[in-house]
Symmetry: C3
Subunit: 354 residues, 3 copies
Amino acid sequence: MKLSEFAKITRSTIVSGPPDLEIIGVGSLETAREGEATFLASLKYAAKAASTQASAIILNEKDVIEREDLAILRAKDPYLAFARGLRAFHPEREAVAFRHASAVIDPTAIVDERTEMHAGVVIGAGCRIAAGVIIHPNTTVYAGSSIGESTVIHSNVSIRGNTEIGRNCILHNNVSIGADGFGFAKDEEKHWLKIPQTGRVVIEDDVEIGANSAVDRPAVGETRLKRGVKIDNLVQIGHACVIDEDALICAQTGLAGSSIVGKRVVLAGQVGVAGHLTIGDDVSVTGQSGVTKSIEPGRFVSGLPAIDNREWRRLSAAYHRLGDMVKTVRELEKRLAELQGPAGSSEADEARPK
Amino acid sequence: MKLSEFAKITRSTIVSGPPDLEIIGVGSLETAREGEATFLASLKYAAKAASTQASAIILNEKDVIEREDLAILRAKDPYLAFARGLRAFHPEREAVAFRHASAVIDPTAIVDERTEMHAGVVIGAGCRIAAGVIIHPNTTVYAGSSIGESTVIHSNVSIRGNTEIGRNCILHNNVSIGADGFGFAKDEEKHWLKIPQTGRVVIEDDVEIGANSAVDRPAVGETRLKRGVKIDNLVQIGHACVIDEDALICAQTGLAGSSIVGKRVVLAGQVGVAGHLTIGDDVSVTGQSGVTKSIEPGRFVSGLPAIDNREWRRLSAAYHRLGDMVKTVRELEKRLAELQGPAGSSEADEARPK
Amino acid sequence: MKLSEFAKITRSTIVSGPPDLEIIGVGSLETAREGEATFLASLKYAAKAASTQASAIILNEKDVIEREDLAILRAKDPYLAFARGLRAFHPEREAVAFRHASAVIDPTAIVDERTEMHAGVVIGAGCRIAAGVIIHPNTTVYAGSSIGESTVIHSNVSIRGNTEIGRNCILHNNVSIGADGFGFAKDEEKHWLKIPQTGRVVIEDDVEIGANSAVDRPAVGETRLKRGVKIDNLVQIGHACVIDEDALICAQTGLAGSSIVGKRVVLAGQVGVAGHLTIGDDVSVTGQSGVTKSIEPGRFVSGLPAIDNREWRRLSAAYHRLGDMVKTVRELEKRLAELQGPAGSSEADEARPK
């Protein structure tokens, strides 16, 4: 690919370098080799830019680096441009018509011919699998589920009955979709009585779910992941949650039941969200926080319980000076006692002859 | 089902509505449609009760709602009554005699005829599988394990050797039972020497284990989940733990090795429990807490380290006023300095002429 | 095994007891029966030592117990000696040449004859599987991966393409190796654009990975687990992390992308590590901590953000006296107000006639 074409694909502009320079791939500042393009997200990494082996680099609209041996491109968001460049060199593979002899497909399932059904795949009764779907080995789809066009399901995934999955989704390995929500009522003998989980999970288009994550079905109604939701590894989505469009949930975060997560919300790693809450659009929650109350749109929160991030940092700073404060308060006590004299109380003090 | 029968099944009493009203199902306040019954757990949800489409509603013994178009029932615990109603409409499916051609069952395994062995199931040597057991596709049971009557094992589960599972259990997808506990000794060269994990896991009757959870085997002896234990998704039960009857462990909670969890203990989500502790009966631990010491029966604890919940809330409230306290202490310092005058010490102060 | 041989294998010395005493196994203080050997790690467990049924016990070089009916051995580290004893009685099983009829092995894969390929195993194109490897049922290995000598892969594991796994590794059930790292760029419409994860995972020799853990591949370059790394259950290793030799990572800990973990680092359970950090050799992080900055070698850290453990304990102690401090400060305010008189300011005070 010529540099000029690379610039077009990455929506960047060439500042220096020959437009017909051959770009053969894309890499990070450390991994890119001669002929490859790289990017500089921030001047924090300027030292790495100084030594990169890449032949071209995408900068943002302001940064300057001291390299005249490299073609220089500029983009508003170099990371986004890098993503586009990498995608151009690594297009997603299209499904070929393939059904391994060991795949077990129920005769009542409707499976498009242009799908890949790998070894050990099991498709239950009444399922509908659209064109372009790839299902990797040893994955199990229970009866009554549907999977939309060009979705990729990796190996050893389990999709329970009546699940609906949209188009262009990716489910990574060992994911569990539609297992029973965790619902029990305590009976008169203090034993737990299971509440049947009769609802279903709906996953809309363009959703990605990381390895070993679990999305539960509810007792009644739906658990829903809307268009463009991205979920990392080992995440727990409890029964009856609704995750709105383009929300991003990082690894090991867990949501109890019935919470609503707004559009473009970002939950960092190991966050916990209690049940029956509403997290407004564009909220961002920092790692290991515990959300115990609903959050207004646009807020940036931290801590357990999660509060405004600025307030949390202020409290955290105060906390880290707590040792000093203990000393100060002891000092104050001492000085005050000295002021008040040996009897140690202001009443006594006033009674003393002056 | 007539309303009178529904009342009987849910152990509730009819306050208003015709006993022969036809009840066709059960739903939540939002999802229930005409002909269905619903329940009101708390007046918090009174607004939803005002607009529910349900034809009957179960209230507790006190609450009042302004709906005369609904049949009204009363139960001590409407949620429990709802659970019973839902169970009546969604009875658990019985196993049929079924062995898929691709199931691989060792000839030395004793598998009751009235079991379902789905596609890709692998049963090792010497296993015993009782009547009524359903094993979903692509699940692996290693040699020497036994599974009791009417237990359901979902797809892609792994059960390691010599595991004993009781009756009426449910194991959800991608669960790992009996993998090696995390035990290593540091040798003279500071490398980790693996301690063989030669013990086994015992799961008693009526236990449910959520998707992608792991229960480890110990070096010697047993890891044991007693009758009625309920475990959510992505939970870690370390080697040699004993979880007593009716304990309930929420998602992403983890127990290190050799801890004992008492009867009816509730561990909320993302709790951590250190090794070699005893958590007494009826203890409740709030979400994201870290239990670092044994806990007396009946306690309600929170925080890292977990302490009495009331004390934790008091400290947390104080923490959230830490910014104000910093100000107050600074103010006190200033006022005291003024009182003591320019020399800034009470000794100097006393030396000053009055 | 004679006691004399047992002493040799466990690198301990006999203090009392006949050298030709028959040792038939090894157990804990509670589980060991007559004829078995046990160990005492610490005098904390002296009460259990007093009642153990074992016929021999390994003590450290100082401890004394009141039992004359037992053979007594001494070792520098009794736990390490116990590990060696248990290993002697439970040697690792060697692979036999076995290929189940239902294993699906791509004709281009090179699989050594002396390997076990169990039922439902799927090996992709171009894979290389060395002698002594055991792959348990329903495990999937994508194309282009290699597995070194005597490595054991348990059931329902997924290994994505181009992964390299060394010798003598153990991967427990439902592990996911090489799933896509969690990398997205936000586009102009605020949708997430997937960054292709084109790198690979390399796992060196003697690595053990616990059940349901996930190790992601990066966009470019490698994620690498070096020799002797031990990883517990439900752990998340993000894309492009490098975990150095003999590091030990406990259950439910998660690392975001591109962090470097030093040699012999110990991360306790439920720890979170942010992206792009360097944790120096021999660092130890206590449970539930959040590492937000790089850490110098040899440090022992705790808390969120993780700080020096001693400082963290000091702050934690101060925190737990926060209620008392609030009272003290209020008291100080009151006393100061009294000292300053009704006008409540030192200026007013000075203006008052004396």
